[in-house]
Amino acid sequence: MQACLSLRGITKCFGSFSALNHISLDVQPGEVLALLGENGAGKSTLMNIIYGLYQPTAGQILLNGQPVTFSSPLAAISHGIGMVHQHFMLVPAFTVAENVAIGQGKARLTLRLDQIAKELQQLAARYHLQVDPFARVADLPVGLQQQVEILKALHHGAKILILDEPTGVLTPKEITGLIQTVRSLAAQGTSVIFISHKLNEVLEISDRIVVLRQGQCVGEVSPQGTTPGDLARMMVGRDVSFQPDRQASPRGEAILVMDSVRAINDRGVAALQDISLAVHAGEIVGIAGVDGNGQTELAEIVTGLRLLTAGEVVIAGENLTNQTPLDFINQKVGHVPEDRKKNGSIKGFSLWETAVMKNHGNFPFSHSGILNHEKMIDHTQKLVRQYDVRMATIHQSAHSLSGGNLQKLILAREITATPKFIVVMHPTRGLDVGAIEFVHSQLLEARRQGAAILLISSELEEVMSLADRILILYEGKIVGQLLPDEYDPNHIGLLMAGAREAG
């Protein structure tokens, strides 16, 4: 059978750096091809070239045997290529229907949002998605935003569909739904290129797996008879352990104490209702829940970034209710934020400026208002070495790091500050297996040293393998508490979906 899409010798250079090196690849009609690779291996770059967003430095794209060049996404779209991007390509200020309608006006003037909304509802029903076409995207939790992205691609009716890490923010149930959707699309003849760091779902969904490393194809396997361990080895080049080594450690005094806390979100709607909890020294408390049930607000409350409307937050005996973020920092509160680019780092700041974001005003990094660059650089060099942050130079901007490496830098900054309490949100979102392994080991190390850790993650496996206790957050309330021997994905999944714990 003739390949519907063939890549021949695709090379892409950004300046002197070559991100892709002579990649050749064929995609058959009705096939689900999974693309694997470490962070920064070049997966997204390759997809962006197919979609016409980037121009290849060398090489050729063939569609059904015919050479094509896509000067813009418009050209790719008109050849039946659809793509869900790794980073949301949504206009937050627009409604879902409007987002889908962008660029769709045939006659340019007719805008039939009602029609599109109806089509969306049909699509959503067919693929078991739940999206209100008239909701403003900015008001949707990330999981739903991801669904909007998928709906957008489905609505295009593409013959070749590219999904670049679509499952990062989805719940297990939603992931199952997506896998079904992809399989049924493939059955109808659509070719799908699927990118993910979750090896189990890759094995489940794909017909064929291609692994990239440093811009080159390093192997191709069929999912049959392949284990996650095999895949990990192909990607990283060494063995990876999936189960972190969590040894029991003595639980100390309560560090974070929240008492009947209430808060509202940015839209003025109640986000946290009557939350009371405690996190002790040497303990990891996991918060499980579907995104958008108050996790973001919870993390902001315990770091001073959001005001409470009622209740109290006490950290290491100090009442910090509605104090400034600085007061929390001074009380040795660490925070690995949800959005590493927006909150965790600052655009244009170099690695060494990023590494001292919170203590640039303290000795030894500054003295009577004057910064000590040398000390800042030394400190950063130490962090970078310790946490194996891959970079060109310490002076490059932190935003130019790959996602995983930026995450490592932020973790290094927060953990090495020896916090009494640290809140960690989605610490491994988007990371490759090697990086995940490392991050987990560092969190456990911090716990061993006596930090109280609040781990917020939508990754159920991650929470179960790390946490000493799991609290389930649903609609701003804690609806259940489980100890390690009670961990059961099905039960937790039910609680996350709103079923109250009996008793």
């Binding site: 950004f14 979609y51 967003l53 980037y54 121009q55 813009s72 996404p73 418009l74 779209i77 008109s78 793509m83 991007h85 949301f88 390509m89 949504l90 206009v91 937050p92 200020a93 627009f94 409007e98 987002n99 309608a101 962008i102 660029g103 769709q104 006006g105 045939k106 006659a107 340019r108 003037l109 007719t110 805008l111 957008k152 935003h399 130019s400």
Partner: protein
């Protein structure tokens, strides 16, 4: 001072009519600015585009005798200047603030130079008959409002009609949606097959043409002549009312009317002999703008990518 005058209906009719006259040019320019800012381009050069439009309109009317030709020429001249800005800021991605400021200086020079070359210096500068008012039957008989709103010239009616038209274009058409997407998230728009560059040029062209018309209003409708720097900073006011009006045509009209009202009122209070230093009277519209802006801008509605140059392969 004649206090009784403040309570007469004549007074308010005249204030409202003056409000409308003062508001129309800044509204037209502000409407244009809505289009280009919605597409993501901050057009600080709008003052220069108004100025060029004012001269071109006057020139064309003077030699052709037709006001319509003049309006067309004004719109085209403003558009030409907008295209110049587009080349530099969209194609070459230069800083929009700098280029806008430079364009204003350039247009000030260009217009007074051209006027001088064409008409020379004289104590009796050339004029054309200012556009006559057209009164609308029935409506113009409504007390107070009638004479104020419905005995105006064509520009005023055009401005009023343009509110729903612009609203429709921006919010009820595909083109408007694509244009707004280019100003909110150009990269997302691009992945949806929108030609972001084209949308930005489109917004800028609409802006230039409307700014040119706003200039034409001054030279054709209001004064029947051109003088150096005839716009006298009205372009900057237009920039302000766009923010003030949350990038929506009807609100921008409201903002323009508020500003026009402040101007009309301060001149009338001076005319009836209010005894406050005139500088404070003249400050009134600007202070009012700041106060109202401060009270209303808690939530921002600015297009998210406003002022950011868009290049494809950039991060």
């Amino acid at each position: 001072m004649d206090v009784d005058i403040l309570t007469g209906s004549m007074f308010w009719t005249s204030v409202i009519a003056a409000t409308v006259r003062m508001a129309v040019p800044i509204y037209l320019a502000g409407l244009g600015e809505i289009f280009c800012e919605r597409a993501g381009v901050l057009n600080i050069g709008i003052e220069g585009q108004m100025l060029t439009g004012a001269l071109a309109a006057f020139f064309a009317t003077y030699y052709s005798g037709s006001v319509l030709t003049g309006m067309l020429a004004g719109a085209l001249a403003g558009l030409a200047m907008a295209l110049l800005l587009g080349f530099l800021c969209i194609k070459r991605q230069l800083d929009q603030t700098t280029i806008g400021v430079l364009l204003n200086i350039f247009c000030l020079g260009l217009t007074s130079f051209s006027y001088r070359v064409i008409f020379g210096i004289s104590a009796t500068p050339p004029t054309i008959p200012p556009l006559a008012a057209v009164s609308i039957p029935f409506l113009s008989n409504i007390p107070v409002l009638g004479p104020a709103l419905f005995q105006q010239n064509l520009f005023v009616y055009a401005a009023l009609i343009s509110v729903p038209a612009a609203y429709w274009l921006l919010f009820r058409t595909s083109l408007g949606l694509d244009l707004r997407a280019a100003g909110e998230n150009p990269r997302a728009a691009e992945t949806m097959g929108v030609n972001v560059v084209a949308m930005r040029y489109l917004g800028l062209c609409l802006c230039g043409a409307l700014a040119g018309l706003a200039g034409a209003f001054l030279s054709l409708a209001l004064l029947g002549r051109f003088v150096d720097n005839i716009t006298a900073g009205r372009g900057f006011i237009a920039l302000a009312i766009v923010i003030f009006g949350c990038w929506k045509p009807h609100r921008v009209l409201g903002a323009a009317l508020l500003f026009g009202f402040a101007e009309a009122l301060q001149l009338r209070l001076q005319a009836v002999g209010m005894n406050i230093p005139y500088q404070f009277m003249l400050m009134f519209p600007y202070v009012l703008t700041i106060i109202v802006l401060a009270m209303t801008s808690r939530r921002t509605f600015a297009p998210a990518a406003l002022g950011q140059p868009y290049a494809r392969e950039n991060e």
